[in-house]
């Protein structure tokens, strides 16, 4: 019944495993300690998978970026350079933390945690597999939108507390960008909520067992998918929308003054946010952990069922991440007025019209 509790309703394997674990813990120790252990375990597992996914994403970005630019990417440390990210992680952990004289010490330290916390809260709600989900609220989609919007506060305060004009401009741009693009991302997700009639993420995935929503929802679902992907790229400060850290004009944007692992945490949060956006896109539009099914093709569906759900989820999510990287390395950066114009004049009206369209599709 609580935020991090393993409150799992799905009857399949992961739900049964956690329920068995819960009852076992409760049988050997008082309820209070069982609950405490569960909270800590859920937190540690989330943080560990958070770090692992960040490492995977960073390696993927460097390798794919290399291929797009006709070079090899990291290839010295280990086979295909897979240990390069671990080496870099160790290096960044050992670096000196520079303190800035006129910085606002409290906010300077606090802002990192806002960014990490917001993405961790969002990360917790993603259904990785049947029942493998830390937080499964009735209003899951709404929860996602609410907690992901908290990260902006961290970015704004980071830019303000560093006491530098580059970080300040970076933070203002980032704030304007994130607040605007949140709207169309939310509206795009709402059109899927209209189609499914529920906001619970596990239920939304469950409903895509026969056919994914992107195919089920006809044209509006496809439009919503594209709106969400574009807005998502903007929300992660990436792709052609990386104005907040436009290196040619702002050094590194809002995290210019951060060094060592403090910068590392911003960096990790950015990559995990990219993963989260891809994961939400695959959950809402591409069926989450559901295998690819076509109604009527029973033999084909049977073969598809042999691939484990967690693999389906990861595959789809990484495909969405690949899409993001492809976009990032193919398009030039937008200007700030073009960026805001794209959101308020094109994406938002389109998303609103799309909601009406989706309602019509659902009615008929």
């Amino acid at each position: 019944m609580s935020l991090a509790g393993l409150d799992i309703t799905a009857p399949f394997h992961f739900g049964t495993v956690t329920q068995w674990f819960d009852s076992w813990l409760n049988s050997v120790m008082p309820h209070f300690w069982a609950l405490t252990i569960e909270f800590i375990l859920a937190g540690v597992l989330l943080l560990a998978s958070y770090a692992v996914f960040a490492l995977v994403m960073i390696y993927m970005e460097r390798k794919i970026c290399g291929f797009f630019q006709c070079r090899l990417g990291p290839d010295r440390v280990g086979k295909w350079g897979i240990f390069q990210v671990f080496a870099d992680m160790l290096k960044i952990l050992l670096k000196e933390l520079v303190t800035i004289n006129r910085a606002d010490k409290m906010l300077f330290r606090l802002s990192i945690f806002f960014v990490i916390l917001a993405s961790l809260c969002t990360f917790a709600a993603i259904p990785f597999d049947k029942g493998l989900q830390a937080v499964d609220f009735n209003m899951g989609v709404f929860y996602l939108l609410a907690v992901s919007s908290l990260g902006v506060i961290g970015i704004l305060t980071a830019g303000w507390a560093s006491d530098s004009k580059y970080t300040m401009i970076g933070a203002m741009r980032s704030g304007a960008q994130l607040i605007s693009y949140e709207l169309s991302a939310g509206l795009a997700l709402l059109s899927i909520v209209i189609l499914s009639g529920t906001m619970q993420l596990s239920e939304i995935v469950e409903q895509q067992a026969d056919l994914w929503f992107i195919f089920k929802g006809h044209v509006p679902a496809v439009i919503a998918f594209f709106i969400y992907v574009i807005a998502g790229h903007a929300e992660t400060n990436r792709g052609p929308f990386d104005l907040p850290e436009a290196e040619s004009e702002l050094t590194a944007g809002y995290h210019t003054e951060y060094s060592g692992i403090k910068f590392g945490l911003f960096y990790v949060a950015e990559y995990v946010n990219l993963f989260i956006i891809a994961a939400i896109a695959s959950t809402m539009f591409l069926g989450g952990w559901q295998p690819f099914h076509i109604p009527g093709w029973d033999a084909f569906n049977g073969i598809m069922d042999y691939i484990p759900p967690a693999l389906w989820f990861t595959g789809k999510t990484l495909a969405c991440v690949f899409l993001a990287l492809w976009v990032r390395w193919s398009f030039p950066r937008l200007r700030i007025d073009q960026l805001l114009g794209l959101e308020w004049k094109i994406l938002m009206p389109l998303a609103l019209i799309n909601i009406v369209l989706m309602s019509l599709v659902v009615l008929w």
Binding site: L3, L107, I153, L156
Partner: protein, 170 residues
């Protein structure tokens, strides 16, 4: 349960006191954020997930970001608000005592729905479905709130028009 409540209550109390006593605008905004997030945590603890999420998205995600933006645009770095004299402290104390009195009377007079704990626990386990809330907001029958909802949207429209008017004036 009680431990989590204690932690949340402590966070809310300490940061609300700090929000009043701190004289840096940005810090005040941050402490206010902690108060609002702690309140959202209380709603989650009570099982009112919808209210908790609304609290997070409207106050922490919306209103507070507006505050921070306003401070970023107007306040120069390190500026501290001036300390008020005794003349202004006395009416402030009076007003707050009056406010506490009104709330205390309301709480004491109010008869709570679940006085015994078993009934409260039984009511606690059911999470209110999103559809129920949606129907209540959009219905026209008794205990349904379409009219207030629409009136609020008119208020928001007035705010938007006012904002445009202020921004347009040269």
């Amino acid at each position: 349960m009680i431990l989590i409540f204690a932690i949340l209550a402590l966070v809310i109390i300490v940061s609300s006191v700090l929000a009043i006593t701190s004289n840096r605008m940005m810090h005040v905004a941050m402490y206010l954020l902690f108060v609002l997030a702690g309140t959202a945590g209380l709603y989650f603890l009570l099982g009112y997930h919808f209210l908790g999420v609304v609290q997070l998205s409207v106050y922490a995600g919306g209103v507070l970001i507006l505050f921070i933006f306003a401070i970023l645009l107007t306040n120069t770095k390190g500026e501290r608000s001036e300390v008020h004299g005794v003349k202004r402290i006395i009416p402030a104390v009076l007003a707050s005592v009056l406010g506490i009195g009104v709330i205390a009377i309301a709480v004491i007079k109010h008869t709570f729905l679940y006085v015994d704990k078993t009934a409260a626990a039984a009511a606690d386990t059911t999470e209110i479905d999103m559809k129920v809330i949606g129907n209540a907001l959009m219905g026209t029958e008794k205990y349904q709130y379409l009219l207030p909802f629409e009136v609020l949207s008119v208020l928001l429209l007035a705010c938007i028009i006012g904002g445009i008017l202020i921004a347009r004036k040269r």
